[in-house]
Symmetry: C2
Amino acid sequence: MNPTADIAHLDRLLAGMPPVAALGLRVQSLDDAALKLTAPLALNLNDKGCAFGGSLASLLTLAAWGALETTLRRAGIDADVYVADSRIVYAAPLYADLSAEAALPGAQALAALRSKLDSRGRGGIELRAQARCPEGRVVATLEGRYAAVLRR
Amino acid sequence: MNPTADIAHLDRLLAGMPPVAALGLRVQSLDDAALKLTAPLALNLNDKGCAFGGSLASLLTLAAWGALETTLRRAGIDADVYVADSRIVYAAPLYADLSAEAALPGAQALAALRSKLDSRGRGGIELRAQARCPEGRVVATLEGRYAAVLRR
């Protein structure tokens, strides 16, 4: 594992998606345990002067997506990752830069997913992500199901 | 009701949000029954060459938001509208321009919301939105709870 290379790879993927680049979204940190993404408030304002819900949804969706993408790549698994469904709760308005964190899937979840990929070429996994304000309070949470599909 | 003025008002609100303007999102149609939003695929591509899930989430979230915003304004109710929570299902990848539709709340739902606003200054309402491909198949659906808060 090379965290600097992992971050550069993810940042390249993110910057390559026009709607993501437009949010100014980038990797804040990435280690063995979690991926954190950030985006400036100025690029993500709604009509009420706080963070746009759709931007928080994108940040949360991509934090969990990136956590799985990174985990699969580190495991040498060449797969596309799609979000299949998500439940998002917006707990409070956010008047600061956006930040969202997702835990990387653990060894057990990865083994279960790998077994599905081995047998069917695709598999699903449940992931979570949280957005917090600078004071540490949760402002939005995502629970979602993601699908990994082996590249041909 | 003046549809042209309603559309101009919504388009102004949407264009005023930087992350929404970046998606090229605008009103496709608005009448007594429904609001339809659209955005070009080129501005909303993911790493796999189809529509980014976060962009679909934004489109769906804003279709339902705009449907309520328009209904309240037509009813002479001066309120901010927030998304409180949402469940999104992504049914299929989309390789075309994005389009999402939400029904305007009916008279009964509006009356229930108005009663909450009258007594507490705020109230919640359940809304739905659907995104379809040009052939008419549903590619993503949103069910969400929205909060309206009277402006002081």
